[in-house]
Amino acid sequence: MVGAGTAPAAPAVPLTGVIRAGPDQAELLAAFYRQAWDPAATADSVRAALRAAAARNPVRPGEPPPAFLFLADGRPVGHLGTIPVRLWTAAGERSAHWLKGLMVLPSHRNGPVGFYLVREALAQVELALSAAVAPEARALLRAAGMAEVGAIPNAVRLLHPARVLRAVDADSAAALPRPARAAAARIRRSPLLCALAGAAVRMACGAWAGVRGGTGGVYAVVLPEWRTGELARLWARTRRGLSAAPSRDPYSLRARYGGEGGYRLLGVYEGGVLAGFAAVRPPRAEGDPRLGGARVATLSEIVAPVDRPAVLRALLRGAETVARSLDADALLCSASHPRVRAALRRRAWLPFPGNVHLLLREPPGAPPLPRGLDAWWLTRGDSHADEVF
């Protein structure tokens, strides 16, 4: 054995493998972010982001959420992040992590990088959740040990049907049944038909929502500020009726909707008590490229006791009003719970198949979580899923 300091240091061997990346690896994280997402990322900006994430970490307060890098000869070529959450279950609250931000540089795709990142993350977090869209990503997550729960159903409320009809291209309409696709193609070619069809759809939706989706005099208002105490009491009442849900305590809600994104916040009051909460994400300035540039807002969050359907409908009606004020052509929502889906139908939201799939991996020996999606209270805002559908 050679004593320390007596021999020349061995040359550092560039590492190939997965590392857990924290503030000490800020340079590596910044190098990856620059290539994958943000050309302006620096070690300092990464450290600042990690400090902010640590401050709002509900699982291990003060610690940065686990993040992982795959290094190839010392260079970062893949990344997987996590979002720590408290998970409400019928048996009480548990800690969980959403797996988020799986990215492999183009030079290393279709190789082992993604699989090993997921496998390492699953080894280091106990209860893991993931919301995935692409079949390949889902297959990878399943192979690494996650179980698929199901696809969160989508629904859309057409606010300006004529504009949506004009914007939707043939690819976007591919999911429609063949007769509807053919009719949509004919309508799209004629501005007059577009306007007429749009007016007809708008009237039909309005009539349906008026007859079936009334709120019994309950109204939503835009919340001018964060009301922590009221939101805490609302979540305490809401969760009593739920089997499984990421926590909607005021701190989680504020971390999710209180910063970037420009979310509009809605509340419903009954007898002076906050009875429901919703968050609406405005449409992107440039429109949604997947829908031919149509301006699509998102109902990202909805919190209300399941035994108060009128409150749920009032939140939906308020969200529709807010989305119209934001000049949205359509309002989108992905929601798993049957009570929310029922309220959506009654407000004339059109259902379409889900494409965001929930996957989970439970630690051995823990009380099992529900394996039916109907038992979960999930909306599009969970896991920052606004960007995918």
């Binding site: 190939t16 493998g17 997965v18 190839a72 492999v104 290393h108 795709r109 279709n110 190789g111 082992p112 990088v113 993604g114 699989f115 090993y116 390949e136 297959a139 990878l140 192979a143």
Partner: protein
């Protein structure tokens, strides 16, 4: 077993259509998950253990052969 045969069977393509240049960039079936399955199949078929660096390197038929030779496998 020639690596081309293993790759062909695993990815459902005619082995004769494969050569050393066939890679995860040229074969649509060679996805991330398929690559992991390939590594497992290779280890089982040739009785070798591939390191993470090997798995990262073996992204073409030619590279797979190179890794296998380095690990002492014969076919």
């Amino acid at each position: 077993m020639p690596p081309e045969l293993l790759v062909g069977r695993l990815f459902g393509v005619e082995p004769a259509s494969l050569d050393d240049a066939t890679s995860n960039a040229t074969l649509a079936q060679w996805t991330s998950l398929a690559h992991v399955n390939l590594v497992l199949a290779v280890e089982s078929a040739y009785g070798v253990h591939l390191t993470l660096a090997d798995a990262l390197e073996a992204t073409s038929v030619g590279a797979l052969k190179r890794v296998l030779r380095r690990r002492g496998a014969r076919w």
